[in-house]
């Protein structure tokens, strides 16, 4: 088949024009020949041009292969090989996703949804769950982002972890992590998504606690795990409820049924979506389950980059966007999502204001940005949320990798108070870090500007208060990020003399990913240009999945409903309607961003004593913020300790003392019984026989009386 036929000029879509190179890549990709060969067997329908779509399973498979090889034989392989292999498999995944992406583009928007079912996994009665993959605009964007950013982080890690003893173990976990995440975003049903969901949780645990010899990482890993369990519980319950309500777990099945079937009560829908959202708050670190993420920086820095940017935390946002159909049917849930999102954004941004640890600042900023994404979802602008997810992946990965580069130079120092004036020592790191900061602060024309502005605009349309809170968080973001830049790279050097001698720029294996990410952070926003009709290609691309956001109201459609074009049209009209206002809001956003910049400049460059005076003035607030509002302590007090104690008590109590406990329960003499309880140990046969007897008597009386 000739290329010209595969890529007809008149059917070109907007995305295609950006990537005119694609056919050439596709041609050189050897798997394609093979795929053409095999696709004759696989496909019966007449979409002749979607060979790569059939191979979507390769995307998660490559990292899985890397994981297996590195995990089973890693201890016999050389370090170099392990590193190269790990990077290669992720690179292959990325390449495959790119090819799939182009194949998807050839389809008309309304049919851009492709399911590839490998086999039926669990047949349970009339209900079947398959191992299958779903390719649609949403999942392909996630696949591209995840595999792309992960690839860069892998390359960076080769340099960063080079000296570490656990090099091989590290890459084994890393591959497993990416595998789970890709599985999560490409699954075609909730159950398979849950497999990835669990895998991601597990890997984050392994990677955060990577340096297990030290107490802090081990604890942080444990915390991440426990908190995520709570979220998983929500997800599981939601799954059960979905299963009961719709009788299937397949995305198309569920969303189709939800869309067409009006019998499902709003209450059930609200319950499902809220439970799903509980799962999302766990994974995506929202209030009240956010506490694990700041501690997660105890892992190696590239892992933080991976967790914060490409994998793990984005899972929650992805899941909410994936279930946009359900959320739209449950307005209450949407409101909850929006409120939680904006509250998280504001709350954690405030925590970042006073943090002195550079990674901690970044961690809080991640939570805050995730809050933005949920705010977007909450106001029904799912595509804006995903847009921000993507741009955030670029600049947050860049920020963390930059911070890692700084750490590398500073011999592991993280305290910004001991930095300063690093700019001349590490120019590449500085410039890339600055670009990322500009992007996250939302300064035109960097990527963050477009996505953040879109969110704020939709929030403004929905509710002015949401907008105001979001804008406030934006101000703080801009402030603390520039504060970090100024404290780290500008001003006077506060670096220890010992460390100062070793200051150096990182090797190119580390700086190259930085530069690539910097480019993406700089121009990544242009795929979603607002206002100009048809220029927001990102939004239009996603519309078939997430529905168009029409001013004032939300309309949602399914992937395979012929809907997209009309929606895009109405969106365009709506945009024109408010063009003046939207431009005004953009300017406001910009002013806010620059305001934060200026404030940071004032306080940390121009007049460094200002912060201390402020601290003295607002001592209480400062301490509250510095101690993370004492949330951890409250959690420990309320939940963790009682559970720990309760388990021990139960354990000793039940097998040892429950029998006497019944005596106790009959309410005789408490003092007398307690002495008995103390004396009586177990391990005695007669204790056990008594337990059997009690059970038997209870059962007999149960039958006699009930």
């Amino acid at each position: 088949m000739k290329i010209g036929q595969r890529w007809p000029e008149d059917e070109m879509y907007k995305w295609g024009s950006y990537f005119g190179l694609a056919p050439k890549i596709a041609k050189t990709w050897p798997c394609l020949r093979f795929s053409q060969y095999v696709s004759n067997f696989c496909s019966v329908d007449n979409w002749r041009n979607r060979e790569m779509l059939d191979y979507v399973w390769l995307v998660p498979l490559f990292p899985a292969i890397g994981f297996l090889i590195n995990g089973l034989f890693g201890y016999r392989l050389s370090k170099g090989f392990v590193g190269v292999l790990a990077c290669t498999v992720i690179g292959l995944s990325f390449l495959t996703s790119v090819l799939i992406f182009f194949d998807l583009l050839q389809l008309p928007p309304e049919s851009r949804s492709f399911e590839k079912i490998i086999y039926t996994w669990i047949p349970a009665g009339d209900f079947k769950t398959s191992v299958g993959f779903l390719v649609d605009p949403l999942s392909i964007i996630m696949m591209l982002t995840v595999s792309g950013v992960s690839f860069l982080i892998h390359i960076y890690s080769v340099g960063y972890m080079h000296e570490d003893e656990g090099f091989k173990r590290y890459f084994t976990y890393l591959n497993l992590f990416v595998f789970s995440m890709l599985l999560l975003v490409s699954a075609n049903n909730f159950l398979l998504m849950f497999v990835g969901w669990e895998g991601v949780g597990l890997c984050s645990y392994l990677l955060i606690g990577f340096w297990y010899e030290r107490k802090a990482p081990a604890d942080a890993g444990k915390k991440a795990f426990v908190v995520n369990r709570i979220g998983d519980f929500g997800f599981l319950l939601a799954m059960m409820l979905i299963f009961v309500t719709f009788g299937t777990l397949n995305f198309h099945g569920v969303f189709g049924a939800a869309h067409h079937n009006n019998e499902v009560s709003t209450l059930v829908m609200t319950a499902i979506t809220l439970l799903l959202f509980l799962g999302a708050t766990g994974k995506s670190a929202q209030i009240p389950l956010y506490t694990w993420l700041p501690d997660a920086m105890e892992g190696p820095t590239p892992v933080s980059a991976l967790i914060h940017a490409a994998t793990m935390v984005t899972a929650g946002v992805y899941m909410v966007a994936r279930c946009s159909v359900l959320y739209t049917l449950a307005p209450v849930s949407l409101t909850v999502v929006a409120i939680v999102g904006v509250a998280t954004a504001l709350f954690t941004a405030s925590m970042a204001l006073a943090a002195n640890d550079i990674k901690r600042v970044l961690a809080y900023s991640t939570i805050s940005q995730l809050g933005y994404m949920f705010l977007a979802c909450g106001v029904g602008a799912f595509s804006a949320g995903i847009f921000h997810l993507m741009t955030h992946a670029f600049f947050k990965a860049l920020l963390f990798l930059g911070a890692g580069s700084v750490m590398h130079a500073m011999a592991g120092e993280l305290d910004m108070r001991k930095m300063g004036a690093l700019k001349p020592h590490m120019p590449k790191t500085y410039w890339t870090f600055l670009i990322a900061t500009l992007a996250i602060a939302g300064i035109f024309p960097f990527a963050g500007f477009f996505s953040k502005d879109e969110i704020l605009w939709h929030a403004f349309e929905k509710n002015t208060i949401l907008w105001a809170l979001g804008a406030c968080a934006a101000l703080m973001t801009s402030f603390y990020m520039f504060r970090a830049v100024f404290m780290t790279f500008h001003g006077e050097s506060r670096v220890d003399a010992e460390v100062k001698k070793h200051l150096h720029e990182s090797p190119s294996v580390m700086t190259t990913p930085l530069i690539i990410l910097a480019i993406l952070s700089a121009i990544g926003g242009f795929v979603g240009i607002p206002i100009i009709k048809g220029a927001n290609v990102f939004h239009d691309f996603l519309t078939p999945v997430t529905g168009g956001h029409v001013a004032g109201s939300v309309e949602v459609t399914l992937g395979n409903l012929a809907y997209a074009s009309s929606s895009a049209l109405s969106y365009g009209e709506a945009v024109q309607h408010n063009v003046g206002l939207e431009i005004f809001m953009m300017v406001v956003s910009l002013i806010i961003a620059f305001g934060g910049l200026g404030l940071a400049y004032l306080m940390y460059l121009k007049d460094p004593s200002l912060p201390r005076r402020l601290v003295e003035k607002f001592k209480l607030l400062y301490h509250l913020i510095l101690n993370k509002w004492f949330v951890d302590e409250i959690y420990d007090f309320l939940f963790v300790n009682p559970i720990k104690r309760g388990s021990t008590v139960l354990w000793q109590f039940f097998d040892a003392k429950v029998i006497d406990g019944i005596v106790n329960g009959s309410g005789w003499c408490i003092k007398w019984t307690s002495s008995v309880l103390k004396r009586i140990q177990t391990g005695y046969v007669q204790n056990y026989a008594l337990s059997i007897l009690v059970g038997a008597v209870a059962i007999i009386f149960y039958f006699l009386l009930v």
Binding site: L72, I122, A124, R229, M240, N687, A689, S691, I692, F703
Partner: protein, 484 residues
Amino acid sequence: MDLVIPKIDALSLCPELVLSITAMLVLLVTVYLPKGRKDPAAYVGLLGIFIALMSLTLLWGKPRYAFNNMIMVDNFSIFFNMVILVTAALSILMSITYLKEEGMSHGEFYALILFSAVGMMFMTAGANLITIFLGLETMSISLYVLAGFLRDSNRSNESALKYLLLGAFSSAFLLYGIAFIYGATGTTDLKGISEFLSRATYMKDPMLLAGMGLLLVGFGFKIATVPFHMWTPDVYEGAPTSVTAFMSVGVKAAVFAAFVRVFSHALWDLQPDWNQLLWILAVLTMTLGNVIAIAQTNIKRMLAYSSIAHAGYIMMGMIASNELGTSSILFYMLAYAFTNLGAFGVVILFGRKGEGNLDIEDYSGMGFKYPVLGLLMAVFLFSLAGIPPTAGFVGKFYIFSAAVKAGYIWLAIIGVMNSLVSVYYYLRVTVMMYMKDPVKDLEGLHWSPSMIVALIIAVAGTLLIGIFPSPYLDLAKQSVLHLM
């Protein structure tokens, strides 16, 4: 008075006969083997198990009663017999080196395992309460001895004594229950009981209900439901590890088979009465098992509590009491067999003579020292915890969805919560293996071929059932077709 000897339906008894004969052959063979080199006895036993497995396939798909309705050979019993035979085979494979290391390599061990398996198989096929009782006793008596097989070990002795006393005690209750049911219905034949009950106009005969309750005590003891579970940790801890592995799976499989047959078939008309009670017991069982397991330091004890919890999950399938629920029990049992045997296999392999290396602490750093063994253990623990893509996950999913489908949503929610709790203690072992430095010398692992074979079978089963469960689900579904 003429004696009309019933037709001796040897074909129906084929697997049991093969196994019994093998067991006696093992006893004979072992006499002629030199001291301390009794391996051939084990291989004879394995051969017998293999032949018995083959003979099972002859009977597949042809349900029939035999010996005056004493046994029922149907797909249901064949499925469970398969699980039991696989369990016996894997346990024997795991025992060979283990017994040598403990200095107790005797052919009688394998014979007793086989006798016990024969008892279990009579339980699964039993269509009369007396057959079931005798099968149960055959199984138990062999197990009492096996639990105390390490004659010089105080723990093993203690475990045998506790098991014996409590087992006999609970058997008396079971027997009393049989007596009551006999009195209330006039028969011990399961088919007769169910026919009697479907005819009966009164439902609340207290004698019948009490008999049912006492049966529940007897069965509940063997499968370790709360409050009849207290023997489990002690016996599992003290018994030789390979016997623990065999007990934890085989006994559960056999007793659940009988349990389902008696309750979901013979006593079906009393389902409203026992269902609520089982609900309570299931919740208690899984909750207590999981909660107490958290605080354990000995891995065998921890697995004992975990097996209590698993009994609770399996009971959910009974409570659901529909075809899906029953087939989910079968499937879960299969998944549990491979998983639990595998986990115990690693414990055996990693253990030392006497009480060596049984603390969870001892597993520190094991994952780095022995990457393959660590990975295997991780797979088994994940499967026990119900983390995909392992057999345990599919099993749990299947059981929970059966409960949900039958309308027991709260039960399913409690089950889900429990399995989330359980992840904590399973993962703790994994954490020890991968996130701690060794606390002691980990040298001196005896990789024996038989153990490697056993572990490969176990891990292959665990993963295969987890990733491609549908053939096994079909098998389980076909197995319950003729039951109801």
